[in-house]
């Protein structure tokens, strides 16, 4: 957790105290995100750090085997829940493409449901909503941002983030930083500039736009002709440095690298942005000149700890390209780079800590066998950092794919073909200073879609690729509890209400809440 040392943060702390002393229900003010109370999960990662770690300790390795169903919420849809539920004021806000529900966090009773208008954007999943004051925000498959009254689901305003007719869509869970709502979009099938927008959460007006690749008409393309680099995942934020960290997606055209020579900054990168201006502070490229669809959109996890004996403000990412990066988040310099999943596409690591792509593993007419496959060494599913053990726990995949490109495939959109060959899911607990894997836990055939949650009592919650939600011991990865709820497609959360700790996770189209058995008074 970040301690408020700057003036702005000190003000925020005063506000948090003021909020805490107010009776009754209230909306969420952005300062509350600086130190979220344990009866909330107020933003996608739970807090600004992206560690997805909870200080709650009621559920422990000793009693987790007694975990039982507290409630289940039926969306009534076959659509898999991929969203992180957001909890504020005892109300869970859950989303799937076009839909949002407000649910009583104690009983799963539905308070209201919102349905967006029918549209032709990609309905591939939805990551979650954002809450600010009495507003709750939903991004849509046709790249709009809808602000609803959190109390009743009535639309307050609806703005277009990007033009869906050009091929943009959004699954994004927006990140709130003070009075900035940061909203990302996606768009891999068209050559579109990578765009992150800051929206005024009160009015819906655009405050600034950050482009990871230059907008059309920019003279002297710094990206080497590449478009893409979409910022479709929720970033993280350091209030002391006042920097937002976001992972950027792959360049377009996707598999045709010939059309865009050079490294193609800032695609497949981690970028540090000033939230008040949208200006770039620094960028670090996880994959220079990507030709395999390996977005570096994965969570940039912020950790304050020692590296080589020196206290550091670090940023860690287990990236889709199969490499793990440890950076100094003040300036983006590399502290360590190592593979955490099967890789065969790089010749080595350069002085800046970036893998050096092997040209022989670029997509070719006759096909190249490449690890990882397009799904990557990991993906959008959240990892977790456990401060007590110093372990970074990630749901990885060891996989191969075959990649094709020939000039006839052109230079628009996908511009190539690739096919997955095989993959195995494996949870790895990584020591970030050395790259050593302290333990591994097999998850089955194919990647699991489940993210990871750790708690201060020494537990890991995640899901396997068969349809079990799992509770593991953080120190050694051994299984302590499971339930066959169907494939977990989101990242679990936890909170405490009325003295009872809940773990909430999606299985298929149902949201499940688990807790210890109620004790009779």
């Amino acid at each position: 957790m970040f301690w408020p040392t700057c003036r702005r943060c000190a003000e925020a702390a005063v506000l948090v105290l003021a909020l805490a002393s107010r009776p009754g229900a209230q909306g969420l003010d952005s300062p509350a995100l600086l130190n979220p109370s344990s009866d909330t999960w107020p933003t996608y990662h739970g807090d600004y750090s992206g560690r997805r770690h909870s200080r709650l300790t009621q559920i422990t390795p000793a009693n987790v085997s007694q975990l039982t169903l507290a409630w289940a919420f039926q969306t009534g849809q076959s659509t898999q829940i991929k969203a992180t539920p957001i909890l504020v004021n005892g109300i869970v806000f859950l989303s799937t493409p076009d839909y949002m529900w407000a649910i009583d966090a104690r009983s799963a009773r539905q308070l209201w449901q919102y349905k967006y208008r029918d549209n032709t954007g990609f309905h591939i999943g939805h990551r979650g909503v954002a809450v600010y004051k009495d507003f709750v925000y939903l991004t849509t498959p046709d790249a709009h941002l809808v602000a609803l009254d959190a109390k009743n689901g009535k639309v307050r305003w609806d703005v277009e983030i990007a033009d869906s007719k050009k091929g943009y869509w959004s699954t994004n869970a927006p990140l709130l930083v003070r009075n900035h709502l940061l909203v990302g979009v996606a768009g891999d099938f068209d050559n579109l500039p990578g765009m992150l927008k800051s929206i005024d959460p009160d009015t819906g007006e655009t405050q600034w736009i950050f482009y990871s690749t230059p907008p059309p008409g920019t003279p002297g393309s710094p990206s080497g002709g590449a478009t893409g680099g979409q910022m479709w995942m929720t970033g993280t934020y350091d209030p002391e440095l006042n920097l937002v960290y976001v992972g950027t997606g792959n360049p377009t055209p996707v598999l045709n690298g010939d059309a865009r020579p050079g490294d193609n900054p800032w695609t497949c990168s981690i970028v540090a942005i000033h939230p008040d201006t949208g200006k770039l502070e620094w960028g670090f490229q996880a994959t220079p000149h990507d030709t395999h669809d390996w977005d570096a959109a994965e969570v940039p996890v912020l950790v304050d700890a020692a590296f080589d004996g020196v206290p550091r403000k670090m940023l860690m990412q287990a990236s889709r390209n199969g490499y793990f990066f440890v950076l100094d988040r003040a300036n983006g310099t590399s502290l360590k780079t190592f593979p955490f999943a099967t890789v065969n596409w790089a010749k080595g690591i350069d002085k800046a800590g970036r893998p050096i792509p092997n040209p022989d593993k670029e997509p070719a007419r006759d096909g190249r066998l490449v690890a990882p496959n397009e799904g990557g060494g990991t993906n959008y599913r959240s990892p977790s950092f456990d401060p007590a053990t110093g372990l970074f726990i990630v749901s990885a995949q060891d996989s191969y794919g075959i990649y094709f490109f020939k000039p006839e495939h052109g230079s628009y959109g996908w511009a190539g073909a690739d096919y997955g060959v095989s993959g195995k899911g494996v949870l790895r607990a990584i020591e970030y200073q050395t790259g050593a894997v302290r333990w591994r836990h097999d998850l089955g055939d194919g990647a699991s879609g489940a993210g990871v949650l750790t708690t201060a009592s020494g537990l890991v919650f995640t899901g396997d690729s068969s349809g079990n939600v799992l509770a593991l011991r953080t120190s050694d990865g051994s299984t302590l509890w499971h339930s066959g709820i169907g494939r977990v497609g989101n990242s679990p959360i936890t909170y405490e209400l009325d003295g009872r700790q809940y773990v909430v996770v999606g299985g298929g189209g149902v949201l499940y809440s688990f807790a210890l058995p109620e004790t009779k008074p």
Partner: protein, 258 residues
């Protein structure tokens, strides 16, 4: 429609006909396009020729075998959850519109100038002689396979990308030919009794098999001992050993087995 009536009258399977009735009205195709785009387009591409993670449907055996949704609708409606394809609980009219759109795209894909095709000749860059040496030597393929046995005539059943995909993972993609039998498992109960069958399911907690009778049986993993025999594991292990040259050489050798 007349063809359908005749087929029904005579109890003839439409799928067995050489020229199945695959015509759809422009209205059906038009209705299917936006539904396909929004529900299927991300994985299978807006033009059904493959997108992120999903296969090219214009080259899918299922699409080619399908007649008015008899194969496709069950898959769309129920999904292939084990392969990562979700179920789409859509009304019948939406499903048939999707089917119409896919078939229309499949027909268009046969026109010249397709964007993302992998032609049979594209993958034929290997050296068959070198492939034969690898097959019999370093690759270890000859431990399980015989060119005059199980692989006899393989190149007449599978070509190009399909053959390559099946060579790398026999359970995987590609059109035509037979999928190999899945793994077997022998389960020993605490009484000492043993049961053997095809491996039906395995996770961290449950082991299950299909008996010769066709019945499914499962046990908690912590109450039995079991041995899985999966000869296909050798294919997975080989992925880390192949160079691209080896891969293409073995493919070239397989292409000589006609």
């Amino acid at each position: 429609m007349m063809r359908l009536v005749i087929a029904l009258l005579f109890g003839v399977s439409l799928a067995s006909q050489t020229d199945p009735a695959q015509t759809y009205t422009p209205a059906q195709i038009q209705a299917g396009q936006p539904i396909f785009t929004s529900r299927c387009g991300f994985c299978h591409g807006r033009d059904a020729a493959g997108g992120e993670s999903g296969p090219d449907l214009t080259r899918s055996a299922l699409v080619i075998d399908d007649v008015r949704g008899d194969k496709l609708i069950p898959v769309i409606r129920d999904g292939r959850v084990d392969k990562g394809m979700p179920a789409f609980g859509l009304p019948y009219n939406d499903l048939i519109a999707i089917v119409a759109f896919i078939h229309d795209q499949q027909k268009k894909s046969e026109l010249p100038g397709r964007r993302r095709s992998v032609d049979t000749t594209d993958v034929q860059t290997g050296n068959a002689e070198a492939g034969k040496i690898y097959f019999n030597g370093a690759g270890g393929c000859a431990r399980c396979h015989r060119p005059d046995g199980d692989l006899a005539g393989i190149a007449t059943k599978l070509q190009g990308l399909s053959l390559l995909q099946r060579m790398l993972d026999p359970r995987g993609g590609g059109r035509g030919g037979e999928r190999p039998h899945p793994a077997t498992v022998t389960v020993t109960l605490q009484t000492g009794q043993t049961t053997t069958g095809r491996l039906a399911y395995r996770d961290e907690f449950t082991i299950a098999l299909t008996e010769a009778s066709g019945w499914y049986r499962s046990w908690p993993i912590n109450q039995v001992t079991f041995t899985v025999n999966n000869p296909l594991d050798a294919h997975t292990e080989q992925l880390a050993k192949y160079t691209d040259e080896d891969m293409h050489d073995v493919l070239a050798y397989l292409q000589t087995l006609r």
